[in-house]
């Protein structure tokens, strides 16, 4: 790699007195993963396993008139066929799954359609057979009669007067009240701060523009999968890749109308998620099939099914109007955002509204959000869902504003930056945040300070994700040899079990290697919310912290009883218990561990937490690119991501999150999109034509970890998983403008689009 005269990966550490936190140990699950031993969902095998496949709708919108599964059932090798009628009839309810609310009826309808199919790829029936080839043959024998209906593919189409309606019983919730109007708009909400009309009057410069984005997919490499098996006592056991074992458990309980205690979900290792593996798809179908066959049934989606049958992130229309004084003080900003929810209500437009203006201290702000159903797969979370769409608009508008004002784009942002005490347009008041520090680090970075190569364009942008807290549990047991076993329930997508173990290690004063973390099933650990929302290192780390404090307290008490002294006189540091007054009294955890059984039994610490002190994270990008003027092809030449992590527990994995989110953002900016044909079918549902960046498409991604400690966490942690996917699309658009003078307001910025812009 080109040697540079600057450090490509920097940690601007503000807290350096930790022993384990901030170091880079090898991850505990690493050896299994580099040797092929780790068991992912599709690897799971069991005696008597049958293979399931799912029949999916070829139509974007149609009534199901009849389903005849008899020929499929008769095929040699087929053991069972299920449809929506195999679900028990239950009353509808609102479920809290993952980070959102979902209606049970919508969840059930998405898993197996009953009267209507709402998108190409909508699941209708499942087959279990002796091998996947037979199962697939059986699908072609299921006869379904459809009445095809007209469909809508974009927010414009869905919101138009007279548009075909997806749900006859969906009325628009208009500013908090049921409007009674049947519509594809499930919800229209507003956030209002101050008086934007007045604010725009005061503005001396205004930028007003519309931006459009199209559907993109999380692109995890392992498709959805799940194995189900009932035991004779009526308990259901699931093995699957999921970002939330308890979400799977709770969803299945409602879908199958059985108590949660009758379901055990064992999460396997997970081949990527990015939010897309929070919802469930195949597990209920596998469960229904397994009930009929009496054997384990495994379903693994194909890549095509993953694109067409699981939730991507929305296409959207974003309208931005922003005004400022000549000095660069923003006086008003308005964001109008319509997002595709897919076939059922629940796009991330609400989250987008929380993020769009978050980096800025605005006196007057107005956000209009529209949640719109369209005949596409039900959207699922994708890494800071909604925020990248919003930022593609607002962060471009700000650069336009900066240009009109003759200001440096980072200076404009700094002039308006949100700090502790700033009230967001959507309501919350910020505690300590690092937006300013990130912007300053951007300005000072050698990348920003360097001369652009001739012919290159440079762009900057900043993005935000609020991060979440939610529930986590953790148990820690002291072993005879002074190591500890740690059990937690956060499925590990990116090395989190190690970051969690490191926090426990820090408390106990032992090495990270002396903590043995395990990600366990729903029978084995207390309720733990999803691995998502950038919560895992923060909240499950906190549970580990608390559980370790519990162990520490018990160790001190045990030593006190062994030595027959007051526990108050003892301390524990660096894994050694000692007396504050008597230097003779010293015991290592190893020595204590060896005596546990003789001195009263084992020591187990535990914690269940739902921490409130969540700190949001800001991430900034500086990108240099060049454009081949004859073909419109963009080459990313240099990319720098700067993010506030609060405290980077394991800097390598924080850097990894930043680089991964940047890569996804670059793909989103340049080439990724769902091509829908006139019949509402995705024509590029393969990894050939859904173009995610390859190793050859990206440069090294330089990183700076800023650490503005989150006062709400014992080590200062802010979640980092998500904010880094937010700035790339606007940063790249801004660089395209800088390079060519053309402002691209439509994603992706494909070569054709770039050339079109050059022409006009």
């Amino acid at each position: 790699m080109t040697t540079t005269d600057y450090d490509r990966n920097v940690v601007l550490s503000t807290q350096n007195d930790f022993k384990v936190v901030g170091t880079r140990p090898v991850r505990h699950d690493g050896v299994d993963k580099v040797t092929g031993r780790a068991i992912y969902g599709a690897d799971y095998d069991a005696s008597g396993l049958l293979h399931g496949k799912i029949l999916r709708s070829p139509h974007a919108h149609a009534k199901i008139l009849s389903i005849d599964t008899s020929k499929a059932e008769a095929l040699d090798g087929v053991h069972a066929v299920v449809t929506a009628s195999d679900f028990p009839e239950t009353a509808d309810k609102t479920m809290e799954l993952g980070e959102d609310e979902t209606k049970l009826r919508d969840l059930r309808g998405n898993i197996l359609a009953k009267d209507k199919v709402l998108y190409v790829g909508h699941a209708i029936a499942g087959v279990a057979a002796s091998n996947p080839h037979v199962a697939e043959e059986a699908l072609s024998l299921i006869e379904i009669k459809y009445e095809v209906l007209p469909s809508v593919m974009t927010t414009d189409e869905a919101m138009a007067d007279g548009a075909p309606i997806l749900h006859e019983d969906q009325t628009t919730e208009e500013l908090g009240n049921d409007s009674g109007v049947v519509s594809n708009v499930a919800k229209h909400f507003q956030h209002i701060k101050g008086d934007v009309a007045e604010g725009f009057k005061q503005a001396e410069v205004i930028v007003e523009r519309e931006y459009n984005t199209v559907t993109v997919h999380q692109g995890y490499i392992a498709p959805h999968n799940g194995t189900a098996f009932w035991s004779a006592d009526g308990r259901l056991h699931i093995w699957c890749e999921t970002q939330g074992s308890f979400v799977v458990r709770d969803s299945l309980a409602d879908l199958l109308d059985i108590p949660v205690s009758m379901i055990r979900v064992t999460p396997t290792e997970i081949g990527g998620g990015f939010g897309g593996k929070i919802p469930i798809y195949v597990e209920p179908v596998a469960a229904l099939l397994s009930k009929k066959t009496g054997t384990p049934v495994k379903i693994v989606m194909s890549r095509k099914e993953t694109f067409e049958g699981s939730g991507p992130t929305p296409g959207s229309k974003i309208k931005i109007k922003v005004g400022a004084t000549r000095e660069g003080k923003i006086t008003a900003a308005h964001a109008w955002m319509a997002m595709e929810a897919g076939a059922y209500a629940g796009s991330p437009v609400g989250a987008a509204a929380q993020c769009v203006f978050a980096a800025y201290d605005l006196e007057n702000g107005l956000i209009d959000g529209f949640d719109v159903v369209v005949n596409k797969p039900k959207t699922a979370a994708y890494r800071a869902p909604g925020s990248p769409n919003a930022a593609f608009g607002f962060e471009q508008a700000l650069n336009e504003l900066a240009e009109k004002l003759g200001m440096d784009p980072i200076d404009l942002r700094l002039k308006n930056v949100a700090t502790e005490g700033t009230r967001r347009v959507d309501g919350p008041v910020f505690q300590r945040i690092g937006a300013k520090e990130v912007l300053e680090a951007m300005r000072e970075h050698p990348h920003y300070q360097s001369e652009k190569k001739s012919g290159s364009g440079r762009g900057v942008a900043i993005g935000f994700w609020f991060n979440i807290g939610f529930d986590s549990a953790c148990n820690i047991a002291l072993n005879k040899d002074g190591t500890v076993n740690l059990t937690e329930g956060s499925t590990d997508i990116g090395g989190s079990r190690t970051s969690i173990a490191m926090q426990a290690a820090e408390v106990l004063g032992i090495s990270a290697e002396d903590v043995r973390p395990s990600v366990v099933d729903t029978d084995t650990v207390g309720f733990t919310a999803v691995t998502g929302g950038s919560r895992t290192t923060f909240a499950t780390g906190w549970a580990a912290y608390e559980a370790a404090q519990d162990v520490k307290k018990q160790c001190i008490e045990r030593a006190a009883s062994i030595w027959d002294v007051d526990a108050e006189n003892l301390q524990m540091e660096d894994g050694v218990i000692s007396s504050k007054t008597d230097s003779e009294l010293k015991m290592t955890l190893k020595e204590l561990g060896a005596q546990l059984s003789d001195t009263g039994g084992g020591i187990t610490g535990r914690a269940s937490v739902k921490p409130r002190g969540v700190g949001g994270s800001f991430c900034g990008n500086i990108v240099d690119l060049s454009i081949d003027e004859e073909t419109g092809k963009i080459t990313i030449e240099r990319f720098t991501a700067i993010q506030d992590a609060g405290k980077a527990i394991h800097p390598s994995y924080v850097e990894g999150q930043m680089q991964g989110g940047s890569a996804q953002g670059i793909g989103w900016a340049l080439n990724e999109e769902y091509f829908m044909n006139d019949e509402g079918r995705m024509t590029n549902s393969s990894l050939l034509d859904y173009r995610m960046p390859t190793a050859l498409d990206l440069p090294m991604i330089d990183t700076v970890i800023v650490e503005v400690a989150n006062p709400g966490h014992p080590f200062g942690v802010r979640g980092v998983g998500e904010a880094n996917i937010v700035p790339p699309t606007p940063a790249i658009a801004n660089a395209v403008y800088d390079s060519s003078g053309n402002r691209i307001t439509q994603l992706p910025m494909s070569p054709v689009a770039i050339l079109e812009a050059f022409k006009s």
């Binding site: 599709a42 990894g656 995610m692």
Partner: protein, 159 residues
């Protein structure tokens, strides 16, 4: 028609016999018939590289090889990269360089990297990226993977 073919191969240095239908890919045979699940399926049409194995000295996407074609072939999978419990320098470099996050693409990358370094022990960054362009990673952005390959190359040359 369930006539199966008897296929004889060498996998990771050991003779392995298995039965399969012509329609089963080598990937399917490795995973579902032989039980070597280290090689992964991401797309089943040659576009992600998660199924990369080495056959007779060159890497292929095993989803696009029929099991029956493996008759007489010598196959190396991720399970054969380490020498017993001694990890290969490439595996060590990936671990120490944090070049994996979810890890699903990692077996494919390691097999492909080994083939690269056997052919070209001191590749440039561009050569590394070009060789590995068929191996998709969605988690890492490739930065730490490229560094791990360079580190492994260095270690292997020193040895």
């Amino acid at each position: 028609m369930t006539t199966k073919t008897h296929v004889q191969t060498t996998i990771n240095g050991e003779p392995v016999d298995f039965l399969c239908e012509p329609r089963q890919s080598l990937l399917e045979c490795l995973r579902d018939v032989i039980g070597l699940t280290g090689t992964k399926e991401g797309c089943n049409d040659g576009n992600c590289g998660a199924c990369t194995v080495n056959i007779d000295g060159r890497i292929v996407t095993s989803c696009l090889v029929l099991g029956v074609e493996a008759q007489g072939a010598s196959i190396e999978t991720i399970e054969g990269i380490a020498d017993g419990t001694n990890l290969h320098p490439i595996q060590l470099a990936f671990l120490e360089g944090a070049a994996l996050q979810c890890g699903i693409c990692t077996p494919g990358f390691i097999v492909a990297t080994k083939a690269l370094l056997e052919k070209n022990p001191d590749p440039t960054e561009h050569e590394i990226r070009f060789w590995l362009a068929n191996n998709l990673c969605r988690c890492t952005g490739y930065d730490k993977i490229v560094r791990a390959v360079q580190e492994a190359a260095k270690k292997m040359q020193e040895a």
